[in-house]
């Protein structure tokens, strides 16, 4: 079976590790981590990805900027995007969805919800 590649763009090592723990339960999936928006953009531009999980608040380049750059780039515009926000950040979440994010996860994140969203967007069991 073809391997699916997921990019996790998150500045918090704790959150990154939690997401990795949750997502590595999916079969035939390769996880790549990026520590800020710029790192994420570099990685997503240089390789193929089937899904990107992007935190909104990050140093160097925030998640909203990264989403808008990805959606404006022909080769990246179809990659499904999941944004990670806090419950209070309704405005950021709405902006992210308006910019083209497909789904959102709120903190504190639940591993089951992460898996459900990833499975849905990757169309896998």
């Amino acid at each position: 079976m073809e391997r699916r590649r997921i990019l996790i763009v998150e500045d918090s090592p704790t959150m990154r590790q939690l997401l990795v723990f949750a997502l590595r339960r999916l079969k035939h999936v390769e996880l790549v981590e990026a520590q800020d928006g710029m790192d994420g953009l570099r990685k997503v531009s240089s390789d193929h990805f089937d899904l990107a999980l992007i935190d909104i608040n990050m140093p160097v380049m925030d998640g909203l900027k990264l989403i808008s750059l990805m959606r404006g780039e022909e080769s990246l515009k179809d990659i499904p995007i999941v944004v990670i926000t806090t419950e209070g950040a309704q405005e950021d979440r709405d902006r992210a969805l308006k910019l083209g994010a497909n789904e959102y996860l709120t903190k504190p994140i639940q591993a089951n919800r992460v898996l459900e969203v990833a499975r849905g967007l990757l169309k896998i069991e």
Partner: protein, 272 residues
């Protein structure tokens, strides 16, 4: 000419053989037909005699009834087995959900303790504690206090969701915060937001062994958080022990590094 004749003869023989095989096959079919007719007649005869003879009929009836009973019994056994399997299946599904939840909880606890001990930089440790409290516990407003050994006051070193200057320092043993830290027991009230910063909703005392070193005080939770789960209480324990050790170790490390630098500077001065 001779060859033509021989060929014709050969084909004639083949034709006769085909006819012979056809005749044999027809004979076999007729015999089989005859056998089946006889069998049919026997069965009809059996049925008629059973219908005529009440004894035979009763025998047949008993036989059939016993067969029906046996089949019904078998059916019941299968149904019982099926419901047992279904029940077992349900139990396994429930257990699977429980194990998955336990697995998630263990992953969260592992991540929390792993991150807490991943650095000796005190600022990094404080940042990690903040991340854990936000991302794993789901607190919105909280403060991290460290005990000042000189005046026995718990002083705020970091806060989230509120300006740290707003949070009051507190004497060890007094007030809700001070008492919880002195007793070394987690204080956990209801989840209603507290705007009175002298009355946190949760106090997690930070202890290294029996020595108090500080506390984490929560004042409000994120909107979607409506209560504390078993995992939250486990996280309180992990933070109470591991965050305390991590903060204590990183503070000692930075102090010893500072002292080392001073001594090194002094030695360098002597050597000149």
């Amino acid at each position: 000419m001779k060859d033509d004749r021989s060929n014709l003869f050969h084909r004639g023989e083949e034709f006769v053989n085909v006819l012979r095989r056809g005749a044999e096959f027809t004979k076999e079919v007729l015999q089989e037909n005859e056998r089946l007719r006889r069998r049919l007649a026997e069965v009809e005869e059996q049925q008629q005699s059973a219908a005529r003879d009440p004894h035979e009929w009763a025998k047949l009836r008993v036989e059939l009834l016993s067969r029906i009973t046996r089949l019904e019994e078998e059916n019941r056994t299968f149904r019982e087995r099926l419901s047992e399997v279904e029940e077992e299946n349900r139990r396994f599904a429930d257990r699977y959900v429980e194990i998955e939840e336990e697995n998630n909880n263990l992953a969260n606890l592992y991540v929390a303790s792993y991150q807490l001990h991943s650095t000796l930089d005190i600022d990094e440790v404080v940042k990690i504690v903040i991340e854990i409290v936000i991302n794993l516990i789901g607190a919105e407003v909280f403060g991290i206090y460290l005990l000042d050994d000189r005046d026995q006051h718990l002083k705020v070193v970091a806060a989230e969701g509120v300006d740290r200057t707003v949070l009051p320092s507190c004497l060890l043993g007094s007030g809700e915060l001070g008492r919880a830290v002195a007793a070394g027991e987690t204080m956990c009230g209801d989840t209603t937001r507290s705007d009175d910063f002298s009355k946190p909703i949760v106090v997690i005392p930070l202890h290294v062994g029996k020595r108090p070193i500080g506390a984490i005080a929560l004042y409000s939770l994120l909107q979607q958080k409506d209560g504390f789960s078993a995992l939250d209480h486990e996280l309180f324990n992990v933070l109470g022990g591991h965050a305390a050790t991590a903060l204590f170790a990183s503070r000692l490390y930075s102090q010893s590094e500072r002292k080392l630098n001073t001594i090194q500077g002094f030695l360098d001065l002597l050597a000149q």
